[in-house]
């Protein structure tokens, strides 16, 4: 696969806990093309977070490699944007200073980083909040700030680990549309982990379905629904059949989900 933006090549991860080897990932391979929005769904404990940690270089795999633009990127940090489940905004920094953290770490002066970030804050619903502190913001706004911090990092690939998991249904649906808008503007390759099948179908070009431990990709679905997508797309026959196919995969593993 010559033109894959991000390629995961037979990635494997084994933990040894109290003498016994536990496989978190059995060789997982896939390639993602540039600018695509790919969701990863699967039950808890299917190794999604492990997969992300490995791609982000935060955990060395026990086998396999991560390639970015065909180049070996295994174990290197700062090459992909990674947004964790929690927003992890620093309480002693203002919203603006939180958003520029990534740029600052990359060596941009705080002055310049602020000037760069400010228009984005205004454009993406945080205008007027740049000098506030995170505790003064609602959950949705905190997630926006955290996502902007990830996106302004000048990386082509962005990993989002259940970014909307803790939000209420209404905020969540607003955030999904906001994310699609921002993705259309930034044109980054997005890998999105979620538990929510509907969310995955609504947002993605492709869906990777993973099985529980040991984690592996059991299905790969292409979502051909036209973009831009309106909420009403959820009523279309294509949407429903995709959703059902995903649910069938997950339904197959219901006992483990309960565990």
């Amino acid at each position: 696969m010559p033109s894959a933006k991000l390629e995961v090549r037979s990635l494997a991860m084994q933990f040894s806990t109290s003498g016994a080897d536990v496989a978190a990932l059995t060789p997982v391979s896939f390639g993602l093309s540039e600018g695509s929005f790919v969701s990863v769904i699967g039950p808890s404990g299917c190794g999604k977070s492990t997969l992300f940690n490995i791609i982000a270089g935060l955990q060395p795999p026990t086998g396999g490699a991560v390639l970015i633009d065909g180049e070996d990127a295994t174990g290197t940090i700062g090459r992909v944007g990674y947004m964790l489940q929690k927003d992890l905004l620093l309480p002693w920094r203002t919203v603006l200073d939180n958003v520029v953290l990534g740029m600052e770490i990359k060596g941009v002066s705080r002055q310049r980083a602020r000037a760069t970030a400010l228009p984005y804050l205004q454009r993406y619903g945080l205008g007027g909040f740049e000098d506030r502190y995170p505790r003064e913001l609602s959950g949705g706004m905190r997630q926006r700030a955290a996502l902007l911090r990830t996106l302004l990092l000048d990386t082509d690939i962005v990993l989002l680990d259940e970014p909307f998991g803790a939000l209420d249904a209404q905020t969540r649906s607003a955030m999904q549309e906001w994310l699609l808008q921002i993705w259309a503007d930034f044109r980054k390759t997005v890998v999105f982990v979620t538990h929510d099948v509907e969310e995955a179908v609504f947002l993605s070009d492709e869906i990777l379905v993973m099985s529980p431990r040991p984690g592996r990709v059991v299905d790969r679905l292409t979502v051909t629904l036209p973009r831009p997508r309106a909420r009403s797309v959820a009523n279309s026959a294509d949407f429903i059949s995709l959703k059902e196919r995903c649910l069938a995969h997950l339904g197959h593993v219901t006992p483990e989900m309960a565990a």
Partner: protein, 288 residues
């Protein structure tokens, strides 16, 4: 569920049946207790009354020799001695000596302790090696080291500062280290995912995260530093309020003991307020 089974139990008739109450004859409903709140003025008035009553009682008890004024002294005599203390003796030399030792010890102990605690973040191995030593030093009653400290550092200011440092250092170290251990691992993960170096992580995450912990010991430390300085003066010194107290006690000048203790309390309070203010200011400006 069969009907025959249920019908064995007498069924209450809806509407007319009442459960026999255990809260006989009739529950008295309690009102929500609302604490009385005195005005600030009234509280201050009562506080003044307490002080006047205590001092007046003391004076009267001494005059009527209910208590022995030789050992207990009395407010009027303390007042006289205080006037003499401030006008004739070198009171300000003593005060300045003690305060200097306290502030120096406080600053050195707090800074060195915080630095030590922060340094444990850099290496888990180093922290593991050092920890038992820190805990060991913590468990030593530092005041018991006073004679040794005087021998090593002499009877001048240095030994008083050293005592103050000995008392404050460990508290700062342990608290700061607790703060270091409480740094959120997910936040570290975030920094590394952004490509941060160890140094960047330390400066941008660890120090600001630990600062509130360090600040929280400031008020404790100012008290400890004062104790250290006073005990150093007790053992051997040529100046200081601690030496004044010891000297007065040895010459049975009980009123002078009281004067020195009161002056000491006043400055202890002053420093406490100053440090509390400093803490508040730092929290607002740096931590948020």
């Amino acid at each position: 569920m069969t009907t025959s089974h249920i019908s064995a139990v007498p069924r209450p008739r809806v509407g007319r049946f009442r459960f026999p109450s255990v809260f006989a004859p009739r529950p008295a409903f309690r009102r929500l207790p609302v604490p009385k709140k005195w005005s600030q003025r009234r509280i201050v008035a009562v506080q003044i009354a307490v002080v006047v009553a205590a001092l007046g009682g003391w004076e009267i008890a001494a005059l009527l020799t209910w208590i022995d004024p030789f050992f207990w002294s009395q407010p009027s005599k303390i007042w006289q001695t205080g006037k003499i203390f401030f006008t004739q003796g070198d009171a300000f030399t003593d005060i300045f000596f003690t305060l200097r030792a306290t502030v120096l010890g406080f600053v050195i102990g707090t800074f060195a302790g915080s630095a030590l605690g922060l340094s444990f973040w850099w290496s888990r191995n180093y922290a593991a090696v050092a920890q038992p030593f820190v805990v060991c030093f913590e468990s030593i009653p530092k005041l018991a080291l006073a004679p040794l400290v005087i021998l090593v550092f002499g009877i001048g200011l240095t030994s008083k500062v050293a005592m103050a440092v000995a008392l404050t250092l460990v508290v700062s170290t342990l608290t700061t280290y607790a703060g270091v251990q409480a740094v959120d691992p997910d936040s570290e993960k975030l920094f590394y995912s952004l490509g941060a170096s160890r140094m960047q992580l330390f400066r941008k995450l660890v120090i600001p995260a630990v600062l509130p912990w360090t600040l929280s010991v400031l008020r404790v430390n100012i008290g400890l530093a004062l104790t250290g300085a006073i005990v150093g003066e007790f053992i051997s010194s040529q100046h200081g309020l601690g030496r004044e107290i010891l000297y007065a006690g040895q010459t049975y000048d009980i009123a002078l003991v009281w004067v020195a203790v009161l002056v000491l309390s006043f400055f202890a309070m002053l420093m406490y307020v100053a440090v509390a203010w400093l803490e508040k200011w730092l929290r607002k400006g740096v931590v948020r």
